[in-house]
């Protein structure tokens, strides 16, 4: 049978991101021999792999496009910032989210209710919040490394007042305000802990002189941005699929998955993931294969297949291939994960062609000598062979005279 021709992937018209690195590990050619190899951490929560640490999230998504933000479409870039306000104040050149005053009030209300649910009485709550939400000088806000460490106090109070859900976190200052000295000093004194989120709130400016001048007119109050702390912070996590998580652990060795603070070994993950998702081994082997070719596989749910293959990553190119994975034995027969009829295959082919992707069938051939015990270890992958087949439709009438490749 003639080989299918490789068609170059279609580049997207507008690319907003820059490519950092194909994998989230340091390369010798970039950093030299002394590299600090960082091992990221993830947790198993409800049979899902979640990465909570912000830097880990940035690294894992930015280099290799692993995972998906749970509050975003793909890249974890959830922000409460109002895009209209950002456009309005775009010459402020700040990376803090800008929200309306109403929204900030909502935040404060939710924080109040949360603390009351936790048993604090109203006056304490009000006092704490008043102190926390007072305006700050925002021009000098930077991450201040040499500030005092209030970590212990911070973490102590945070853990005491943490809500039951994982997403919300109430961050409280650990110490009391030593008076209203210079605000810069305040910021220096208080290290920016992990829970503090600084936002710019657009508030009305009530200028008394203006009102006196024109009491009859109703001027639109001038607005200005006030920097405050958000007492009700919403955090976003990165969720990794089981295949992505296992790839980071097994192939790259750059992720550790914890279950209730206990790290899990590779064998344990291999077995446990199979229990959670019975077809995990098959889909993982195909995922590993395509990753080892330098392509980025993402889930193919939207097009009815198992994987979509991107070159470099979703922001740069449209997906080139839509893959269906099957596991067969040495005689090239096997019980299929999805037994096809020509009708369903024709439908899938049509859908793929409509979105400019090629339908690829990926057969994983395992030798018949492989026992079930061998399959219990990911080392069994070394004996598996992969056969890729491209399905395409041939139109008889069109290709009569021009020498199109089939």
């Amino acid at each position: 049978m003639a080989e299918a021709v490789f068609r170059a992937p279609k580049r997207k018209r507008r690319v907003y991101e820059s490519f950092e690195s194909p994998l989230p590990i340091p390369f010798g050619q970039d950093c030299g021999p002394k590299q600090d190899f960082k091992v990221f951490t993830a947790e198993m929560i409800n049979n899902n792999v979640i990465v909570r640490n912000t830097e880990d999230m940035e690294q894992l998504y930015g280099k290799g496009y692993f995972g998906k933000g749970i509050l975003s479409r793909s890249r974890p870039n959830f922000t409460i910032s109002d895009p209209k306000l950002v456009a309005k104040w775009k010459d402020m050149k700040t990376d803090m989210p800008i929200i309306t005053s109403t929204k900030y009030q909502h935040s404060v209300e939710w924080a109040t209710k949360l603390m009351q649910r936790q048993g604090q009485d109203e006056s304490t709550v009000r006092k704490i919040l008043q102190d926390y939400t007072k305006p700050l000088e925002h021009s000098g806000i930077k991450r201040n490394e040499e500030g005092q460490r209030h970590d212990e106090l911070n973490s102590g109070t945070v853990s005491k007042m943490e809500g039951t859900t994982d997403r919300e976190e109430l961050s409280m200052p650990g110490d009391t305000q030593p008076g209203d000295g210079s605000q810069q000093a305040d910021l220096c004194a208080r290290k920016r802990g992990p829970g503090d989120e600084y936002v710019l709130v657009e508030e009305d400016v009530y200028d008394v002189s203006e009102q006196e001048c024109a009491p009859n007119e109703e001027l639109a109050p001038k607005k200005r941005l006030v920097c405050r702390r958000n007492p009700y912070r919403i955090l976003e996590y990165l969720q990794l699929s089981l295949e992505e998580a296992f790839f980071l652990v097994y192939a790259l060795g750059c992720l550790s998955i914890y279950y209730e603070k206990e790290p899990l070994t590779i064998m344990k993950l291999w077995k446990a993931f199979t229990v959670v998702q019975p077809t995990f081994r098959t889909t993982y082997m195909a995922y590993h294969y395509f990753r080892s070719k330098g392509w980025v596989p993402k889930v193919g749910l939207k097009y009815g297949t198992d994987l979509l293959l991107y070159r470099k990553g979703p922001p740069f190119y449209h997906a080139s291939y839509s893959v269906i994975i099957e596991l067969v034995d040495d005689h090239f027969e096997g019980s299929l994960r999805r037994p096809f009829s020509w009708r369903s295959l024709a439908a899938l082919n049509r859908v793929s062609v409509n979105v400019s992707k090629e339908l690829m069938l990926c057969y994983l051939i395992k030798p018949s000598t492989m026992t079930d015990k061998e399959m219990e270890s990911p080392e069994c992958m070394k004996q598996i062979k992969v056969q890729e087949v491209i399905l395409s439709r041939w139109v008889s009438s069109r290709e009569r005279s021009d020498q199109d490749e089939l």
């Binding site: 790290p263 590779i266 330098g294 992969v386």
Partner: protein, 603 residues
């Protein structure tokens, strides 16, 4: 696209009614032979659907009243539909009994219908003739078709059609020669019949298209589906011939690149070899480093507790709650695995029945010292529900303080007070338990933990592990039988990293196909197809490499699995293979092609 036509023949577009002009001069004796008798296709005037090109133009012939057999045959003829509409009726044609009035894939201009009883086939003198088959045979041999139609005879035993008169233009791309005679395959003959290039005879009588479908398309030679695909492609202009397995190049020939098409097998082989050698070296490394995994079946039962029992805590034994009693196998005694570890006494009853050894143990020095007691001989009764042993003997009096008297007791009553009901978990708790079962690893099955003899050592181990966690090679990944494929610092560039993690091998459709050839049944390749512009240079004896090969299947049949794909692709060689699927006359074509995803290194 125009079908093959004899020069001078009339071409009839589908569905149009042909009103013939004056008779041509070429209508010679054949026409007279046919025309005289009652067998003329004198269809009744109302048969607007059936063009009848070869009306006999003898004066008065059209006004001759039709005899009854003629009318019957004509009526049968009237039911025919033009051949190009291959719809549902066409499919039924093959099964229609001869002469029945079912709608047939009748021809635009075909042989006259043979009515029931062959009444209409009479030839000879004018006027209704008696039914005489013998007369006809004598008169009609040699068979001569009308005009420039080529006459051909269907030979059912041999399964081909033999031309009785010289072939026309179609001979360039269709047919084959054997023993000096010109022959056609059934599908070719049927196609030409539908085109109107030949006339088919069987037992000296011309076949109607309906009858031809029925006779020529049998299950074993050419099926109806195959014929539909054949005619579809022929009409589009392709040259379609039967599959010639002999034209497959052997792998050796392919390597030599005999027909000039680009093959990069050598490159692929070379690449494959390189990759596999690196696999082997990686395999060896992995195997050398692999320790046989520790058995995780060392049950903690004999450990009696979920944490290494401290020897200092025995002094607190009397205050323990009953719930903490864990099963201790009585006669087996303490486990052999932990030589120096003291098993949890487990007899956590209030006051009475406390292990007599607790007193002794208080004297034990912390740490790993040789025990004074032979724990293999000290038995701890199992108080759990599986094998209850509640009769506790009196402790040895020399072990007790002076004014304390020991006595034996039956702890049965205490056991009754234990809450032995099975815990009823809510659904959420059950799910959590299931999840925990999947992911939680028992601390005691860790060999390092088992080596700890007391609580202090365990804490030290935990501290060490905590420090190690911040390293780049955490122990839970690197000190296990199965380790990550890429170690830190090993990847100098993305290409090298990818090479290290490539453990799956690529294979091709052509690999291993040879041994599948023994399997028969299932799909087979039917036709070789050549493109239309090759017609001018087409030589039947040396057609060259086909453009594609066809496998034909019904739309409701299952998709070929990898086994079939490999077998067929091996048979096809390097010619692309197309699957034609027929769904009630609609044909779709799909091809499965071998592919290897290229490695993307250009970052």
């Amino acid at each position: 696209m125009e079908p093959e036509l004899e020069p001078g023949a009339v071409e009839v577009p589908a569905g149009r009614v042909l009103r013939c002009g004056p008779a041509r001069g070429g209508a010679g004796p054949a026409e007279r032979a046919w025309g005289e008798g009652a067998g003329t296709p004198d269809a009744p005037q109302g048969a607007a659907l059936t063009p009848r090109p070869f009306l006999p133009q003898r004066p008065g012939a059209s006004r001759r009243p039709l005899a009854v057999p003629e009318a019957a045959s004509a009526l049968a003829w009237a039911q025919g539909l033009p051949p190009r509409r291959l719809g549902l009726p066409g499919r039924a044609a093959a099964r229609v009994p001869r002469g029945a009035l079912a709608a047939a894939g009748g021809g635009a201009r075909g042989a006259p219908v043979r009515g029931p009883g062959r009444a209409g086939a009479g030839a000879g003198a004018a006027g209704p003739r008696p039914l005489g088959g013998g007369t006809l045979r004598r008169t009609l041999s040699p068979l001569l078709a009308r005009g420039s139609l080529v006459a051909a005879e269907w030979r059912p035993e041999e399964g081909f059609v033999e031309l009785k008169s010289p072939a026309g233009k179609f001979w360039q791309t269709m047919g084959f020669s054997e023993q000096g005679r010109q022959r056609l395959h059934p599908e070719e003959a049927l196609y030409l019949l539908e085109c109107g290039s030949i006339q088919l005879f069987h037992q000296d009588l011309p076949l109607s298209i309906q009858e031809a479908y029925q006779l020529l398309l049998t299950e074993d030679a050419v099926t109806f589906l195959q014929y539909q695909v054949f005619s579809h492609l022929k009409r589009l202009g392709y040259v379609v011939r039967r599959f010639q397995p002999g034209s497959i190049l052997s792998p050796y020939e392919r390597q030599l690149n005999l027909d000039g098409s680009a093959q990069c097998l050598e490159d692929q082989n070379g690449k494959r070899k390189r990759r596999s050698s690196s696999f082997r070296s990686i395999n060896k490394k992995a195997k050398a480093l692999e320790n046989p995994p520790q058995g995780v079946d060392e049950t903690p039962e004999s450990l009696t507790a979920s944490s290494p029992p401290p020897c200092n805590q025995n002094s607190r034994c009397p205050e323990e709650k009953p719930q903490e009693s864990s099963p201790v196998k009585g006669p087996m005694g303490p486990s052999q695995l932990l030589g120096a570890l003291e098993p949890w006494p487990g007899l956590a009853n209030e006051g009475v029945g406390c292990s007599p050894e607790s007193g002794k143990v208080e004297n034990r020095v912390k740490g790993f010292c040789k025990p004074r007691w032979n724990f293999e001989q000290i038995s701890f009764p199992n108080m759990a529900s599986d094998s209850r042993h509640t009769l506790l003997l009196a402790p040895a009096p020399e072990l007790l303080p002076a004014n304390v008297a020991g006595r034996e007791t039956d702890a049965e009553s205490w056991c009754q007070k234990l809450n032995q009901r099975k815990e009823k978990l809510s659904r959420r708790e059950r799910e959590q338990q299931a999840e925990a079962q999947r992911f939680r690893e028992d601390v005691n099955s860790d060999p390092e933990v088992q080596c700890c003899s007391n609580w202090q050592e365990y804490k030290q181990l935990l501290q060490r592990r905590c420090l190690q966690k911040s390293q780049s090679r955490p122990p839970h990944l690197w000190e296990q039988p199965v380790r990550p494929l890429l170690s830190p610092g090993q990847a100098d560039s993305p290409a090298i990293a990818l090479q290290h993690i490539s453990v799956l091998q690529t294979t091709h459709l052509a690999d291993g196909g040879a041994r599948l050839l023994e399997k028969s049944g299932g799909l087979e390749i039917s036709f070789d197809i050549y493109q239309a512009d090759a017609v001018a240079t087409f030589r039947k004896n040396n057609p060259g490499k086909p453009y594609a090969r066809m496998c034909i299947s019904g739309f409701d049949e299952p998709v070929p699995d990898l086994c079939t794909l490999k077998r067929l692709s091996y048979q096809s060689g390097d010619v692309p293979l197309i699957f034609a699927l027929v769904d009630h006359g609609d044909i779709s074509f799909y091809s499965f092609r071998d592919f290897t995803l290229p490695r993307d290194l250009e970052h």
